[in-house]
Structure formats: C-alpha cells, structure tokens
C-alpha cells in the first residue's frame, strides 16, 4: 500500500540494536542485494524482495535513490501466483480421467494415491506457469536518526514476512511498537517492572 495514498494502514517499529554508521552507508547496496526478483517468466508460486519506493518495477534504484531527506524509503514487493480452486479442480479432473483411461487400457481399475498426488503437482505447476503473478507493494519508511520505521500495512502475515526479511537483509531486529513496547520506549527501563506487573483495570464499580 502506498504511503502517499489518502488513506493508509500503518505499523510502527523500532530497531532493537544500535545501527552503526557503516551499516547506514550500506543500506542502498543491501537493498539491491536483496532486491525483488521477477517471476513473470517462471512457474514460481511467489517471490518477494525490495524495490524502489517510487517505482515498483525498479529493482536497481535507477529511477531515484532510496534516500529522501533523513529517511530511507523502499518497498516490499510480493508477487503471488494464485490458481482459482475451481480451475484446479477442473483440470485435475481432466488429468485424472485421462490417467484412468490409460490405466484401463492396461487392465487396471484404479490410480494409486501417490500417482494422484503426482498428477495434482503436475497440474498445479502447469496452471501456475500459465497464470500471471499478482503484484502487491508495501511501502517502508525508515527514519534512521529517530530510530523509527513505518510499514504501510496492518496485515499480520505481511508484517511477519517483512520483519524476517528485514532481519535477513540488515541483520537487525525490529520491535513492533505495540502498547507494551511503546510504553517501555517512552518510560525507559526503570518502568519495566511496573509495566510487567499491571493488573487489568476494572472500570465499573
């Protein structure tokens, strides 16, 4: 989801570790190294990686650099091939009918479970190769001096994928600024014990 759109979903993070200057300088290079790889001409089910914030087709940052002011900007692009269950069902049925006809010629009256699974895999692969991957883009803004990071989604699956891929790319751990972590961040270490031992408030009485 583009951050520049009129209505945006947003998840906030902070980087747990200290980010050394040498790593900050390396960000553009690491983004290229872990850039999105196109799967249009393959049968891969999905692919994800970083692309230019200004152009999801730009995986080399030739349109613009990731730096904007004090921010680093990039996007997580995820392409997924989806086969409609009804389409799979139909083509699986065709393949199984064909297999059964062949089996009958050899005097057999059944298809083994293993063979069925094999046929399903083949059909899935064939259909995947014929379907176009659906692209999705989730913007990332990293305010390095303030140690804040924004991901333009509230989808838990995308959040997990992003956190893991960020860690793979930069070797840095992200902490989502959920109420407990935000409270710790605001109040500092000395408040941790108090925060950990809170009882839920009973507002009626």
């Amino acid at each position: 989801m583009p951050i520049l759109s009129a209505s945006v979903g947003l998840t906030r993070y902070r980087v747990v570790e200290e980010v050394p200057d040498s790593l900050i300088r390396e960000i553009p290079e690491l983004l290229s190294k872990f850039a999105f790889k196109d799967i249009d001409h393959t049968a891969e089910e999905r692919s994800f990686g970083w692309v230019n914030f200004d152009d999801m087709l730009d995986d080399k940052w030739s349109v613009s650099p990731p730096e904007k002011g004090q921010y680093f900007t990039f996007s997580l692009r995820l392409d997924t091939r989806r086969i409609q269950p009804a389409v799979l069902k139909k083509h699986l049925q065709i393949a199984l009918n064909h297999e059964m006809a062949e089996a009958k010629k050899e005097g057999k009256n059944f298809i083994s479970r293993d063979r069925k699974r094999e046929i399903k895999d083949q059909v899935t692969l064939k259909l995947r190769a014929r379907s176009l991957p659906i692209p999705a883009v989730f913007d990332v803004v990293w305010n390095v001096p303030e140690n804040r990071l924004y991901l333009a989604t509230t989808n838990a699956k995308i959040m997990d994928m992003f956190e893991e891929y960020f860690d793979n790319t930069f070797q840095l751990n992200l902490e989502p600024l959920t109420p407990f972590f935000l409270a710790m961040d605001k109040l500092g270490e000395e408040a941790v014990q108090k925060l950990e031992s809170l009882d839920p408030t009973i507002f009626v009485g």
Binding site: A6, R12, T154, T178, P179, F181, L182, A191, L198
Partner: protein, 177 residues
C-alpha cells in the same frame, strides 16, 4: 513467563485500558490536549467504537458505528465491564485534521488520513517534496497520539490511577442519568 506471551498479555491490557480511558478523558477535557512542548491540539473518539468483554470462548464484542453520535450501545457495554478494543480517533490543530482507526492490542493504525497533500507536480518542484510533506504529517499524527499515550501510561503506573478510575466511574454513572 515467555517474553512474547507476556508482551501479548500486556499489550492487550495496556491497549484496552488506554482506549477505554481515552474515551472518558477526551470527553471530560472536551478533546483539548497538549504535547510536552506545550502545543495544543484536539483529540477525540469518533463515532465508531468497538467494545469487548469476557475471555476465551466467551468474548462478547459490540461495534457501534453511528453517524448520529449515539454511542449508547457501546456505553452500555462499558457499564457491563467491556473495554474499548478499537476506536476511530480524530485529531485537529487549527484547520488540519487527522483521522485514524486504532486497534488496542497492537496500536496499528488503519485508514490513516492526514491533512491533504497536493499531489500535482509543477516544474521546479523538489521530487521528494510530496513524500516529505506526507511523512511529516504522518509523524505529526503519531506524535500527537503518543503525547496522549504518555500522559496515560505515566498515570497508569502511578498511585493516582485509583483516583482516575473513581473519576471514570462517576463519569460513566453521570451519563446514565
């Protein structure tokens, strides 16, 4: 206890206490808040609120979305011990308006709308100008939200929280009449 499990319990507890308190607080101060630097702003809950009570398999949720501003069903929920799990929040400084929906358990913002950023490009414009303006407005929204959260969390861990809860109860009773 495992840190993640603990965080999950604390997130829900702090998040729900915060949004529930925020409803009361924004009503009694007429939406007037202030940042640590003394910047004044308005923050109030909009006419879309979810309240939830019970636990495990017995979770009851009531979501009210009332253009008329009639929140009686959600208030009824509060009176039976439910807490706010999701709220639409509006913030204002002069004519600038922000709007977002906040989820108690993780503080993710959905449908975040900032004051309008002019998207037309004119010759000589800084190509990053729009982005910088937009991100400034997003961070502003977060800063306002955080200012109120900080006020809450300081109070929440202090001995004064008890008094605050008493005030909350009087407020809730006063709406009844």
């Amino acid at each position: 206890m495992d840190l993640l499990l603990l965080a999950e319990r604390e997130n829900t507890l702090i998040g729900q206490d915060f949004l529930t308190w925020l409803w009361f607080k924004s009503e009694i101060v007429n939406g007037m808040f202030e940042t640590a630097d003394g910047e004044k702003f308005m923050l109030y809950l909009e006419h879309r609120i979810s309240v939830q009570g019970g636990d495990g398999e017995n979770v009851d949720t009531a979501t009210v979305s009332a253009a008329s501003g009639n929140m009686s069903e959600a208030l009824q929920g509060l009176k039976t011990g439910k807490k706010v799990t999701r709220a639409q929040i509006k913030m204002e400084i002069d004519e600038n308006l922000w709007q977002t929906q906040v989820k108690a358990e993780d503080f993710t913002f959905s449908g975040l709308k900032t004051p309008k950023v002019e998207m037309k490009t004119e010759e000589g414009d800084d190509p990053d100008g729009k982005f910088l303006e937009k991100i400034y407005l997003i961070e502003k929204c977060i800063a306002l939200f955080d200012a109120v959260f900080l006020e809450f969390i300081k109070l929440r861990i202090s001995p004064e929280w008890k008094d605050e809860v008493s005030k909350f109860r009087s407020w809730l009773r006063s709406i009844e009449e």
